[in-house]
């Protein structure tokens, strides 16, 4: 079986679902037997989910509208 070190080398691609079936097999065999790497995978996966579903840094229209309005007013003046 592969080592934790070898597992981690492929980890980024595994998270992005970009490993070949053979590598995937090795990684999942490792995951099934290594508690530490399974926790790493599980917490990393939950991190991505937590982050992607947070709708963070959404600029509310109350902030963005005045900015766009200001820009448009300036452009109109510049063009006229």
């Amino acid at each position: 079986m592969i080592t934790c070190e070898e597992f981690f080398a492929e980890f980024a691609d595994y998270m992005e679902n970009q490993v070949s079936p053979e590598v995937r097999q090795e990684l999942e065999l490792h995951l099934a037997h290594c508690r530490a790497c399974h926790v790493l995978y599980d917490t990393a996966r939950k991190t991505v989910k937590f982050v992607t579903e947070s709708d963070s840094f959404e600029l509310s229209p109350t902030v963005s509208d005045p900015i766009i309005d200001r820009v448009m007013a300036k452009l109109r003046t510049d063009l006229s």
């Binding site: 053979e22 097999q25 399974h38 599980d42 990393a44 982050v51 963070s56 063009l79």
Partner: protein, 599 residues
């Protein structure tokens, strides 16, 4: 089969007859044992009453037009003291059957689960909690629905004659409006729809204290989340594991590998990515090359299985997903290919078990142990989103597609000086520009100033845009330059360049405690957002930008590389590093406090 067979004796004593559904499985007594163990555990009086459970079984049978199960559960309700009139009401229109609000809610939830399992989401569970359901009651509801699906699948496969006269079932029709009642009338917030994670609590059970887990660990090499998520009622879980053992482990009819292939193919047809991932993994454990498992998940006809095994999977998929089309013809076909009666029976039982498991997984929102194969995701998951109630993200995808086309026209108009067209483009891409800016600059005030600069600069140079890249990519490059200028004015030395790879390479993640199954559910939407924003702003800029575009703005890795002028490997390395730093930041808020689960 002799009358001394334990489960039959028990039925004879308790009810005075032996159900035909069980008689029809006499060729493999172990599967009858499995079914009786499962039924006794799921149907006993618990957090929800036997009458409530039988009502659910009856309604799901009625929806599937399964006369055998309708007759069986009508009789069961009758023997529990329910009046004929009430049973008739349940069969004809359950919403007029004068059920309490709680009973109605659980019935509608179970119907939705049995009919459209992929559409079940945490909001349905919240609705049950609002009606006063405790976790045990939710758990039992899910298992009853799963058992109903198990029984109906088997009954479609075996075609037993009803145990009792069933003239009244001919006119029963499922009411197409019922789904709207459970699904459409309540507005979905996309937040709730997207929130997955195991829905009910599941206390940690160690394999040392709970022997069935030790056995699973031995046979599987690990304990799948499927079982970990069901520890709320350990005796029920134990019965389930025993039943699963009776069905899957012996090889006197089908082989383990054949059974795993059935579980994989039918789960894939049911669009259950959890079960697809686990059965792919188990097949590999049985020595099947992993691309072969992936191929079965996508389309078993293209796999290198024997023609007979492909026919076996066709049979199982049809029974498992289109039971109403299933007929004797299908059985005859398998016989012709040399399958014995025992094997055909076992295939039906395994298919029923699969549908049970798929229903439990979707109903409890059990988290994956492994990522499902990429090929399956690409091929099938678009279908899952088609089954789901529309979510914001789905809408966004369509919107993005049509926007890209529409961008070109607006850009042409804006290039000829049409300010209205430019304003529309600005509004469309504000969010992307803002997120790029705040990722580089690290604070909202600067990002807002930067947004204004970027828009002014974009209009000034819009004639230089040649249409070779996406307009959004072009805007991001302007935003990035504008932000970097600001950084330089601040004499900030943080670099986003590819050359800055110090400490990217030899980074190793710290070991953390395990996290709870449903980290989202412990925080309000606002708390989650604030937590993520704080975590991301605390990252060094080069990681922050990549995480922002990939995980917040949800661009593809290739797009992120393109937009930031980085190589794909550099993006991947930084993304992983950024995500793992975020993981450490979030960990104190999300890790489990259960002592037993600490490693």
């Amino acid at each position: 089969m002799g009358n001394e067979f334990g489960p039959f004796v028990a039925f004879q004593q308790a009810r005075g007859f032996i159900p035909n559904l069980l008689q029809a499985q006499s060729l493999l007594p172990r599967v009858i044992e499995a079914q009786t163990i499962l039924e006794n555990a799921v149907l006993r009086e618990g957090a929800i009453s036997q009458i409530q459970k039988e009502r659910i079984l009856l309604r799901i049978a009625a929806h599937r037009q399964d006369t055998y199960c309708m007759s069986a559960h009508s009789r069961a309700l009758c023997s529990l003291g329910v009046s004929d009139n009430h049973i008739d009401d349940l069969l004809s229109d359950y919403r007029n059957a004068k059920l309490s609000a709680t009973d109605l809610a659980s019935l509608q939830f179970c119907l939705k689960l049995a009919r459209h399992a992929p559409a079940v989401n945490s909001e349905d569970i919240e609705a049950l909690r609002t009606c006063g359901f405790i976790d045990e009651a939710i758990f039992e509801s899910v298992l009853v629905a799963a058992l109903a699906v198990y029984r109906c699948t088997l009954s479609a496969g075996l075609g037993p004659k009803p145990d009792f006269a069933s003239k009244k079932f001919a006119s029963t029709r499922d009411d197409p409006g019922s789904e709207a009642a459970s699904n459409g009338t309540r507005p979905h917030t996309h937040e709730a729809v997207r929130r997955k994670g195991s829905y009910v609590s599941a206390p940690y059970l160690s394999p040392k204290a709970f022997t069935p887990f030790a056995i699973v660990e031995q046979s599987h090499g690990f304990i799948p989340n499927f079982f970990r998520a069901q520890t709320l009622l350990p005796d029920l879980l134990e019965a389930e594991l025993e039943a699963v053992g009776h069905i899957l482990l012996p090889e006197d009819a089908l082989t383990r590998a054949q059974k795993e292939c059935i579980l994989l193919a039918v789960s894939a047809a049911n669009l259950n990515s959890y079960c697809v991932a686990i059965h792919c993994n188990l097949l590999r454990g049985l020595g099947m090359p992993s691309d072969e498992g992936d191929q079965i998940a996508v389309d078993h006809h293209e796999s290198s299985l024997s023609e007979a095994d492909k026919a076996l999977l066709d049979f199982a998929v049809k029974l498992g997903t289109r039971a109403s089309e299933f007929s004797r013809e299908d059985v005859v076909n398998l016989r012709r290919l040399g399958f014995t009666e025992e094997r055909i029976l076992e295939c039906e039982v395994v298919t029923a078990l699969n549908n049970f498991a798929n229903t439990v997984q979707m109903g409890l929102g059990i988290e994956p142990d492994f990522a499902p194969p990429a090929a399956f995701q690409e091929n099938k998951m678009n279908l899952v989103s088609a089954c789901e109630t529309p979510t914001k993200r789905e809408g966004d995808v369509n919107l993005v597609g049509s926007l890209q086309n529409a961008d070109a026209e607006l850009v042409a108009d804006a290039q000829s000086g049409n300010l209205k067209a430019f304003e529309e483009l600005a509004r469309r891409h504000t969010q992307l520009i803002y997120r790029t800016l705040i990722a580089i600059l690290g604070n909202s005030a600067d990002a807002q100033d930067g947004l204004q600069d970027t828009l002014l600069s974009a209009f000034k140079h819009i004639r230089e845009f040649q249409g070779r890249a996406k307009f959004s990519t072009w805007l991001v490059s302007i935003a990035r330059n504008s932000a970097l200028q600001r950084l330089r004015r601040r004499r900030n030395t943080e670099s986003l360049d590819e050359s800055d790879n110090r400490d990217d390479e030899d980074f190793r993640p710290r070991q953390l405690r395990a996290w709870q199954d449903d980290p989202e559910q412990c925080h309000s939407k606002t708390e989650r957002r604030q937590l993520v924003e704080r975590g991301i702003l605390a990252l060094p800029a080069k990681y922050r930008v990549v995480v922002m575009l990939r995980d917040i703005e949800q661009l593809s890795t290739d797009d992120v590389a393109h937009q930031l002028g980085l190589s794909v490997p550099a993006v991947k390395t930084r993304l992983l590093r950024g995500r793992l730093m975020l993981r450490e930041f979030l960990s104190p808020h999300l890790s489990t406090i259960t002592k037993g689960a600490v490693q």
